[in-house]
């Protein structure tokens, strides 16, 4: 599976994850990915019977729901307090295309 982990792959994955990697970081990342994937590839050798469904969550109970009731929101000042940039009303971010 993990035959072709190169700088290009690392840069692509980095882009998906919004990690800005330098070429050196990308190379290091590719090396690590290749190493861990070569370990993880042992999963391929596990024979899984057809009737085995993946176990995605650690609980298989169902139906955790709540009633449609409005609870007080948090006041804006509290919500915005942790923001690196806000004008007191909005969060502010750099433009999409700067």
């Amino acid at each position: 599976m993990s035959n072709a982990i190169d700088r290009k792959t690392a840069l692509h994955v980095g882009k998906l994850a919004r990690l800005e990697l330098t070429d050196a970081q990308a190379d290091a990342s590719a090396k690590h990915l290749a190493s861990i994937l070569s370990y993880v590839d042992q999963l391929a050798e596990v024979e899984v019977p057809e009737d085995i469904e993946p176990f995605f969550g650690a609980t298989e109970s169902v139906n955790a729901v709540r009633d449609d009731e409005v609870r007080p929101s948090m006041d804006r000042e509290t919500i915005l307090r942790n923001a690196p940039d806000s004008d007191g009303e909005f969060y502010r971010v750099p433009p999409v295309f700067g």
Partner: protein, 505 residues
């Protein structure tokens, strides 16, 4: 190598509209009418101050966790049932991963492979016969959370974007059709019909201005060139913010795609889906800036949420609540209330509130014909003039029923009835008080007799005509009678005149 190289520009140019089939599928996002958000208790009210309807959950704060609003699930099932969809007994939640500042968690909680609603359909038709009645298949409808709103600096100076997370987490049902529509008119009819159903079953207010109903379209053309079938590249059109815009955008796109194909010969093979936006001002579709990377949403089951299991009993109970859907309602009104197709259509198109109003009025006055005339004329005219909804109409269905009952019983004629209605609206009073105020009273028999005598004395010509057998001539006396005494009932008056002239029966 591929088909387009075999078709010359001249052959392309020669293609006529008759050889072009338009293929349209729609993706409709509907905001469900819950009080609180899908996964937290914040209010879903529209138009509040920015970032005042947020909490740790809907701002994706570290440590916060989602808990499903059961009403959102119920409204989704209700919609699915109204659209003849299969309802999933077992449904789960998936994360759709992408980065955008109005998506606080960096993923949207949605449903990938187990949507709450499976395959269904909606029948559409056009009263003007623009297209043959047809069935549009629904592929699926899934529940997901809405994103917030970004407002960008439009000045071109690269100013910062502002993010408001009030809308974040509002429940959205995404309804996806199969590519079954063959014209913009069909797409528009689908949207109108869908909106009517959704408002009838009270799952959404479908207010397009407020974004409660948003529509994207996927469109391409199948072109027959000398027996060869060519498909143009699929384009997704966004930002169709009204039914009119949807119709015009799709119409425009048909022409644009045909022109583009004639020019370039480009076909669907190897062409990625492109995204265009509809510019309502310029009336054109505009290609949107392509993303650097093809989208890879890396869906996986959301481990913060657990599956939802719905029983047949629960589904049946929701089905019970749906009541009669518009198409069925039209038939019922024609069959059980003897309305004309036209009247039934007008009424139903006004929405459930108006239909319920009519049904209540008709029941109180026991006169469907009178009720439909008054509702479709008096009531609807007022609603149109004041641009208001039926629940804002000043006269309740009881009051209207009471008024029309008096007309049915012959206590009032329709003309006086309208005076009474005006008085009721002006002074916020009931029919009895309005009648009192207008001085309308029953004319007693001696008063009637003397009025009749007065009329007969003053109109020898009419008397003569009647005696010659032209009983209808008496109608001419009604106007005169009402000038003398506006309370006189035309029917009673004529009957009395006939009796006095001995032409009874």
């Amino acid at each position: 190598m591929n088909t387009n190289t075999q078709i010359s520009a001249a052959d392309r140019e020669a293609v006529t509209a008759a050889e072009v089939t338009t293929i349209i599928g729609l993706e409709v996002h509907v905001q469900l009418q819950t009080k609180s958000k899908l996964f937290c208790g914040c209010s879903t009210l529209f138009g509040q101050e920015p970032n005042t309807q947020t909490c740790p959950v809907c701002t994706g704060m570290p440590g916060s966790l989602p808990v499903l609003n059961k009403q959102a699930l119920k409204l989704s099932i209700k919609t699915g049932l109204a659209l003849n969809c299969e309802i999933a007994k077992h449904t789960k939640w998936d994360r759709k991963n992408y980065f955008y500042p109005d998506l606080p968690k960096g993923y949207q909680i949605s449903q990938l492979d187990q949507p709450i609603c499976g395959v269904g359909y909606l029948d559409i038709s056009d009263s003007d016969g623009a297209f043959e009645p047809k069935r549009v298949e629904i592929e699926r409808a899934h529940l997901e959370e809405d994103a917030g709103k970004s407002s960008h600096d439009e000045s071109g100076r690269g100013g910062k974007s502002k993010i408001d997370l009030n809308r974040t987490g509002t429940p959205l049902l995404e309804i996806v059709t199969r590519p079954d529509m063959r014209s913009a008119a069909e797409a528009k009819a689908f949207l109108q019909s869908l909106k009517m159903i959704l408002t009838y079953i009270e799952v959404s207010d479908c207010n397009m201005q407020e974004g409660s109903l948003r529509c994207d379209g996927n469109i391409n053309l199948h072109i027959n060139v000398g027996g060869q079938k060519i498909a143009t590249p699929i384009v997704e059109i966004k930002n169709m913010n009204s039914f009119r815009a949807a119709e015009r955008a799709l119409d425009y796109e048909v022409k644009r795609q045909l022109a583009e194909w004639k020019e370039t010969g480009g076909t669907i093979e190897g062409a990625p889906k492109r995204t265009f936006g509809w510019d309502d001002q310029a009336e054109v579709t505009i290609a949107q800036r392509e993303k650097e990377e093809a989208a890879d949403y890396r869906y996986f089951p959301d481990p913060d949420l657990i599956a939802v299991v719905t029983t047949d009993e629960q589904i049946d109970a929701i089905r019970e609540e749906i009541g009669t859907l518009p198409s069925r309602l039209r038939n019922d009104l024609v069959r059980e209330h003897q309305l004309s197709e036209y009247d039934a259509n007008v009424l139903v198109n006004q929405g459930r509130g108006v239909v319920d109003y009519f049904l209540s009025v008709a029941k109180t006055c026991d006169n469907s014909k009178l009720a439909i005339n008054w509702v479709n004329q008096e009531v609807l005219r007022h609603l149109n003039e004041t641009n208001s909804a039926i629940d804002q109409y000043p006269i309740g269905s009881d009051g209207m029923g009471d008024l029309l009952k008096r007309i049915t019983d012959g206590d009032l004629d329709q003309t006086r009835g309208k005076d009474v209605l005006s008085a009721m609206m002006e002074d916020s009073i009931d029919a009895a008080a309005a009648i009192e105020k207008l001085g309308i009273r029953q004319v007693d028999s001696s008063e009637l007799d003397s009025l009749c005598q007065q009329l007969l004395d003053a109109n020898p010509k009419v008397v003569a005509q009647v005696q010659e057998g032209k009983v209808k001539a008496l109608g001419a006396l009604v106007g005169q009678a009402r000038k003398i005494n506006p309370n006189v009932n035309p029917g009673t008056l004529q009957a009395n005149l006939r009796k006095m002239l001995g032409v009874d029966g």
